[in-house]
């Protein structure tokens, strides 16, 4: 995108083009969180209402109450911004922004379709996991600076929970990484091209188990029920959020919904084929009409838009499942939370890690072909492939090849 905009500006001012591209990307990413929160806050009310045999919002904005989130937003904006007397003023005001920034910056490295990523890192997965662990920092700050015992208790519980669930989460994430042989999220997604049997979740029985462990840990690490005892209304009067009101309160919830979308999208990329649909329509079309569609920019853009839709749909299913879990299961006690993590999630994930390792090392046949070995090597070697492409383009631009000259004559 940067090159495209750079062409609009005179020589020496191309950086303006890159700035425009960066601003557009930042705008789109903010809207993934903002619009996502807008939709999912409404959806949460509807889902919880259906689960409890109620109707949920019906008045604001027509029959389905779809403007309820907007009304909530206006209400929160107009609330008074309170701060306790004992609070540390600077840290109290900073904490929501720290939490939100941690959630937001993880989206930088999240690919939304093949190559549609703001920052293409070849260690994208590692970066995402590292940034996801920073959210606890905003929580600790909020809890400590509030100057209230409820907040401090909530923050301690939350921090203990998130830090301990990072261990099984990390082990779970290693499994797809090990099968694909790369930490590049774009490459991991691209390796699952083809029929839906190529999705990593169908790779072998162990990774099927790993997905459920991942989902449990993800729910716990974004602090959703049944693991939400850090902000338990009945015991801790909302935990680390106790003293916050109005816009600062809603920033925390934006961060929470952002993290929910993030971990669901990550699950979709790691286990459910990412932006690849269940049936490879676009690559089949490409195979049938290679001469006509090979160089069509609009065709690849359409394919990527379709991929974006696929990924968002898979991520939404993940978020809805989290809501379903929230309104179905009872809240766990603090000892049950830690038992769940250390006694069940870690050993299961570790055994599955070993299992996948032996499965791959012993050459047990896969239920899927992922990609033919040669193609997989190509995707894995994407780094050299990009160099190959550039070398080709360079040679072509410097010396027109003989057959092209022939065409000119």
């Amino acid at each position: 995108m940067g090159e495209f905009f750079a062409g609009w500006f005179p020589a020496g001012w191309e950086f303006l083009g890159y700035t425009v591209a960066a601003l557009i990307q930042a705008f789109l990413l903010v809207n993934v969180i903002a619009l996502g929160a807008f939709v999912f806050i409404w959806a949460e009310r509807k889902v919880s209402a259906r689960i409890q045999d109620r109707l949920g919002p019906t008045r604001t904005g027509g029959a389905f109450g779809w403007l309820q989130s907007l009304a909530d937003g206006i209400k929160l904006l107009s609330k008074e911004d309170l701060m306790p007397k004992d609070a540390d003023p600077i840290l109290f005001k900073l904490a929501p922004y720290v939490a939100f920034a941690a959630s937001f910056s993880a989206f930088m490295a999240l690919p939304f379709a093949s190559g549609w990523v703001a920052l293409h890192l070849n260690i994208g997965l590692f970066f995402l996991i590292a940034v996801l662990g920073l959210e606890v920092f905003g929580v600790i700050l909020a809890g400590y600076s509030s100057g209230s015992k409820w907040s401090l208790f909530g923050a301690m519980r939350q921090a203990a929970q998130v830090v301990s669930y990072e261990v099984p989460l990390g082990i779970c994430v290693i499994v797809p990484l090990m099968i694909c042989g790369t930490m590049d999220l774009v490459a991991i997604g691209d390796q699952q091209r083809g029929l839906f049997t190529n999705w990593l979740i169908f790779h072998d029985p162990f990774i099927f188990v790993v997905f459920w462990v991942y989902f449990t840990c993800a729910v716990a690490s974004v602090n959703r029920a049944p693991f939400d005892l850090a902000e338990a209304e009945s015991e801790l009067v909302a935990g680390f959020l106790t003293e916050y009101s109005g816009m600062r309160w809603s920033l925390f919830f934006m961060a929470e919904y952002g993290s929910m979308i993030l971990v669901s999208a990550l699950a979709a990329i790691l286990f459910f084929g990412g932006w690849n649909g269940p049936i490879p329509i676009f690559s089949a079309l490409m195979d049938w009409f290679p001469n006509y569609l090979g160089n069509c920019w609009w065709f690849s853009t359409t394919a990527n838009l379709f991929g974006l839709l696929c990924l968002l749909m898979k991520a939404s299913i993940g978020v809805i499942a989290m809501m379903w879990v929230r309104w179905t299961f009872p809240r766990l006690r603090v000892d049950q939370v830690i038992t769940m993590c250390l006694k069940y999630c870690v050993p299961i994930a570790a055994v599955c890690l070993l299992g996948v390792m032996f499965w791959t090392a012993l050459g047990v046949p896969f239920f899927n072909d992922l990609l033919p070995a040669q193609d997989r090597a190509l995707v894995r070697e994407g780094w050299f492939k990009s160099g190959e492409k550039q070398a080709d383009a360079l040679l072509k631009s410097l010396s027109p090849s003989p057959d092209e000259e022939g065409e000119v004559e």
Binding site: L91, F127, L134, F137, A391
Partner: protein
């Protein structure tokens, strides 16, 4: 990232340099705040921002793996532990700390020595003083491609080896720094895949920084154990 660097080397504003100064100012400014503030929790907060800005510098330099490592180990791990320690141990008397004159002198001595060593090191290596790493790599790439072109014009075919070299140079010009995790893993045990092309073999790899990281973690653990142990003096009879 590539075209950004390539474009900005001749642009009206070198955007890369601007970002470097902004982030470096952030890192240094918050480090100064750590030294100046008396409140221990604000100190920890400023320390975290400073360390996060340092990882931003690493990202700017193209060392993504080390940058993410910095985020995970320092910002995500050590400092959270530190805050836990502060929150669990800091009572009213310890929340605001006063620095004694002797500590000031000692600190200035250690810090000044380190600064002198680092400044000397910065001006020791000529490439670190120039910001045209990218344009040099681009120029080398174009020159080599021209050479291959003239070779082709003379009627000689380009060999696979030459082509491979061109590809490697294109990658070097596009990525700037070694980033592949495989290469970093090799570099950890001393094989610098990125240095093969430039014939600068014999470099030690990244084992030393990793050792420093692990020793740092060990020191943190020892400190935590010491803090936890110090309170039990009254129980034992013969323990001082």
């Amino acid at each position: 990232m590539t075209p950004l660097l390539a474009a900005t080397s001749e642009a009206a504003i070198n955007w890369h340099t601007v970002m470097f100064y902004v982030i470096a100012l952030c890192a240094c400014g918050f480090a100064v705040i750590v030294a100046l503030t008396n409140n221990i929790v604000r100190m920890a907060f400023a320390l975290i921002v400073s360390l996060a800005a340092t990882s931003g510098l690493l990202f700017l330099a193209g060392a993504y793996f080390v940058g993410a490592m910095q985020l995970m180990i320092y910002v995500g791990g050590t400092v959270v532990l530190l805050i836990f320690g502060v929150m669990l141990t800091a009572q009213k008397a310890f929340i605001t700390m006063r620095t004694q004159a002797g500590d000031w002198i000692l600190g200035l001595l250690v810090g000044g020595t380190l600064l002198a060593v680092l400044v000397q090191l910065v001006f020791l290596i000529p490439e670190w003083q120039s910001s045209n790493y990218q344009s040099t790599a681009d120029a080398q790439l174009v020159a080599y491609a021209e050479e291959l072109k003239s070779q082709r014009a003379r009627g000689e075919e380009i060999t696979a080896e030459q082509r491979r070299r061109l590809e490697l140079m294109a990658v070097k010009a596009s990525e700037g720094m070694p980033q592949r995790t495989g290469e970093i893993g090799l570099a950890l045990i001393g094989v610098r895949a990125d240095k093969i092309e430039s014939e600068q073999t014999g470099l030690a790899g990244y084992l030393l920084p990793f050792e420093i990281v692990s020793v740092h973690l060990l020191v943190v653990l020892v400190g935590a154990a010491f803090l936890a142990r110090a309170k039990r003096h009254h129980h034992g009879g013969d323990v001082s």
